[in-house]
Assembly symmetry: C2
Homo-oligomer: 159 residues x 2
């Protein structure tokens, strides 16, 4: 799993703490976690394409949340950053070697191995979709109630 997921979630939380009055430039978000600006920018663009963030072009531009944290699930962020493909990719090796030259239609049904793996990934996706960023933010603030204040202070008074 690429580490872009961690970057993306933390950036979403930061944007939520800062409020959406004005957009935050990628360079500023990157500085907040000491991340490479250009590369973080790519992840943010992926989040925009996925409809999680909105971008504002031009001076004083940047990124903001496209909707409140309550309506963003971990699944949304993971899908945006990692892409829609399953982690397990069936190579259909059942058709090779001893499986070659099998009668027509033997392979109409999906491979049982693939089905089993897909079932597990579905459970993973369900667990991701069941958690909103708002819940994660709440958990973080339960550990450190002044996190939001700290973020706002670091980003310069209030905004």
């Amino acid at each position: 799993m690429s580490e872009g997921v961690e970057w993306a979630v933390h950036c979403c939380l930061t944007l939520a703490w800062l409020g959406d009055e004005r957009p935050v430039p990628a360079a500023r978000l990157a500085a907040g976690y000491e991340l490479p600006t250009a590369y973080l920018n790519k992840q943010l663009q992926a989040l925009v394409r996925a409809g999680v963030l909105e971008s504002v072009a031009g001076a004083k531009g940047g990124f903001r949340l496209a909707r409140p944290l309550e309506k963003i699930t971990l699944m949304d962020v993971v899908a945006a950053v990692e892409g829609p493909e399953d982690a397990f990719q069936c190579q259909e090796i059942r058709r090779r070697g001893m499986g070659a030259g099998a009668p027509e239609g033997r392979y109409r049904a999906p491979c049982a191995v693939s089905t089993a793996m897909r079932r597990a990934e579905l459970a993973w996706r369900r667990a991701l979709a069941a958690q909103t960023l708002a819940e994660i933010q709440a958990a973080a603030e339960r550990q450190a109630p002044d996190l939001g204040r700290g973020v706002r202070r670091w980003y310069g008074q209030d905004g």
Copy 2:
């Protein structure tokens, strides 16, 4: 996810269909799916280290199942091939940039983002552990009841 998982599961099923009277050499298993022998051998060795397979050295040696398919879960195979590490690795970026110089003990509790991701991976592992290779074999035979016979025929009469 490495494709070694698919190789490993299919090989386990093949070993089950062939019975464990005599071990099957890696080269033979590889030929059954047109896989690179030396590389498949590495995956099989990982399965041996994990206690899923047993190996027999010397001439007429090879690999056999260490226990019946009913007692091998998908989780066993995935863990053997992929290793024990979580797919999501928390880089603790919360401590960098604006998080640097935080008061002592702020980071005693694990990152809320990491916790959420771990929860989803736990669901994945549970789903993997809930499925035995015997069930997968049964599903495969439901699609093609003569699979076992076909495998035995391809591997030479009976054995």
